[in-house]
Every structure is written in structure tokens, then in C-alpha cells.
Symmetry: C2
Subunit: 209 residues, 2 copies
């Protein structure tokens, strides 16, 4: 295994290891970002304000996160790690894999509901991201996949199931957006999530070995 490919536990590439002060700066920036986002969503996260709140020069902010979208996607990675930890503690109770996944996603959904502006900022950044942010967005996607597979309780998913999981992720993001922009109710999101989760049972090789 080539040394360059090593990853930290977080799955982020471990390029140059940060000093303590740098790690602290990075945390301050992410914290400021999340805080501003919680207040007013995507637009409220203004780079100058983030820099000021986190006691860092604008140029430094851009050295850590090369664009506003990078910053917000990193913020999302951060929040996702939190959420994965929280979800892990109380595994879903459903009988079927579909039920468990739907339950997990709705739980995540309710968590986002508590900070709708933050959710707005993160999701808008995620879908607005262009090619230059692909690695980071991909990382978020992988993290989401892990959460879903966890809920399924599936160790070795078939490629069919992986496709179903991707579709569920698509639906999850897109449904989130329609809710955030006020075009769908929570009830509707719930129905759509439950609908798409049926795909899981449909693609299961057998219900339980």
C-alpha cells in the first residue's frame, strides 16, 4: 500500500499534519461557519464575517478553505460526523431494512429541522458545488452511504443494493431541498422517503439469511 494513500480515521486525506494552533484555527473557522449559517443560512455565511468571528485573516481563511462552498461542505462533513455518532447510539427499531433506513433518515431529518438555516446553507453548498469540490462532496456522499448501510445492517451489499442506496441518497438530498425552499411539507418528505426505501426490500437478495 502506497504511503501517500493513507487516510485518517475521519476519511479525510492526511496531507500535511496540522500543528496544534492550526488545528485550533480550523476548528474556530468551522465553528464560526456553523454559527453564522445557523443564523441566516447560506447568505449569512460571509467570508469576511467568518474570518472576523474566528479571529483569522481573510487570506488565512482562504488558505484553509479555498472557497465559500469548500467551507460549507467541510462544515457539513463536520456535522455529519456528529450525526453519525448520535445515530449510532440509538439504532433504529424497524423490522425490515427499509423501515430502519426510513426511520434513520427521518431522524436525521428532524435533527436538521432544528437548525433549518444551517441545513439550508450546507445543502445548497453541496448541490451548488462544482468539479473543484468533487473530492469533498464525494466524501460527504460516502459518509451518508455508511450511515444508510449501517441502518440496513448490511455487511456486504450487492451492487443492486448499492444502486438502491444511491437512489435513496439522491432522493434524500433533493427532498431536503424541496422542503428547505418551501415547496414540500414535512409530511410529503416523509412519504417520499418511505416510498424510496421500498427499493431496499425490492433489491434484497433474501430477507434474512
Amino acid at each position: 500500500m502506497p504511503v501517500e494513500a493513507k487516510l485518517e480515521a475521519t476519511g479525510r486525506p492526511a496531507s500535511p499534519p496540522l500543528t496544534e494552533r492550526q488545528e485550533a484555527r480550523r476548528r474556530r473557522i468551522l465553528h464560526a461557519s456553523a454559527q453564522l449559517a445557523s443564523r441566516g443560512g447560506f447568505d449569512a455565511v460571509q467570508m469576511r464575517e467568518v474570518a472576523e468571528s474566528s479571529q483569522v485573516a481573510l487570506g488565512t481563511l482562504y488558505r484553509y478553505f479555498p472557497s465559500k462552498v469548500h467551507l460549507l461542505v467541510a462544515t457539513m462533513q463536520d456535522q455529519l460526523e456528529h450525526m453519525h455518532g448520535t445515530l449510532r447510539k440509538k439504532p433504529p427499531q424497524g423490522e425490515t431494512a427499509a423501515e430502519r433506513v426510513a426511520e434513520t433518515l427521518m431522524r436525521a431529518f428532524r435533527a436538521l429541522q432544528r437548525e433549518p438555516h444551517l441545513a439550508d446553507a450546507m445543502v445548497r453548498a453541496l448541490t451548488f458545488a462544482d468539479r473543484s469540490v468533487s473530492p469533498e462532496v464525494d466524501q460527504v456522499s460516502r459518509q451518508t452511504t455508511v450511515i444508510i448501510l449501517d441502518a440496513m445492517g448490511q455487511e456486504n451489499p450487492t451492487s443492486e443494493q448499492l444502486s438502491a442506496v444511491r437512489v435513496i441518497e439522491h432522493t434524500w438530498h433533493s427532498a431536503l431541498i424541496t422542503w428547505l425552499s418551501g415547496r414540500a411539507s414535512i409530511a410529503q418528505v416523509k412519504i417520499d422517503i418511505e416510498t424510496v426505501c421500498r427499493l431496499i426490500d425490492l433489491t434484497a437478495p433474501q430477507n434474512k439469511p
Copy 2:
């Protein structure tokens, strides 16, 4: 029925009817928008350039389309109308509703592939749109729904089927984004579309009466 609620054939609200010159301006603007988008995607659609290309003052451009996102979403409405017309001419051949829908979407997908920059601009605008663009985004969504229902050949869909259609739309948008940002191959998009389309048969009350 209140007069104010009247809609044109296009489904757009018929607020104040435009004069001929105004209609011409509007077309010039949309044309310039599509042309610039085809060249370089979202970033290449610069409001000053659109104004110049369409021989209209910047202020006028903003009177017609209150933001860049509004403009691009309107551009998408325009293109969708085209596409619906084109698709109508050659109805899909599949046996099942699921096959027909998948075929239609993949056909639309290949059309977008021919102008990837334009697709990029439109889709990014669509998902980046905030509440202030909801009516227009909703209109795009309705138009997409009509295309899918057309492909299904379903006159009176059940609410279950409508949910399946919404999930398909979610998947369609989101898959498009992952493809546009280089995170998924066309083959993968095809698989995902086919996967999600299975939901249609799953939710069909009976295959054919």
C-alpha cells in the same frame, strides 16, 4: 373562478400581457442566456453580458428577471417546453411503464449531454434557487411531472404513484448533478434511473386494466 388565477397555455401566470416588443426582448434575453450558458455553464452567464448580447440595459434585464437564478430557471422552462415537444413526437417503446419512463429520461439525458454546459447552468440554478424562486421552480417541476406521466401513459395516477414520480424526479435531478460535477459516469446514471423506475411497477394498482 377568479380572473386573476387564469393561466396561459404554457402554465405561466398571465400577469400583465406583454407588448410585441416586450415579448421580443424577453426572447432575446432567453436566447442570449442559453447561448452564453452553452459556452461556459453557470459562470459564463454574466448579467452584463446577457444584457449586452440581448441589446437591453442591465436595469431592464433585472426588470424581466429579478436575479440570475430567475433567468436561468426561466431558461430551463423554455428548454423543457422544447424537449417535451420533441419527446412527444417519438413516444417510448417499452413494454412496462417503468421501461418507458426510464427510456424517456435517458433520452432527455442524452439531449442534455449534447449541451453539458447549458445543462450545468440550468440544473445548478434550479437546485440553488431559494424561496424567492419557488413559483418558477415549481413550474419546472410540474412540467417534468407531466413528461413522466406522459411516458407512463397514466391518466389518473394514484397518490402512491405520484409519490413514486416525485422520487423519480428527485433522483433525476440529483443524478444529473453528480454526473455534471464528474462524480458519476453516464453508465451509473443509467443504472440509477432504471433502479428508481422500478418503483413505478411496484406502485401500479394493476399492470393493465
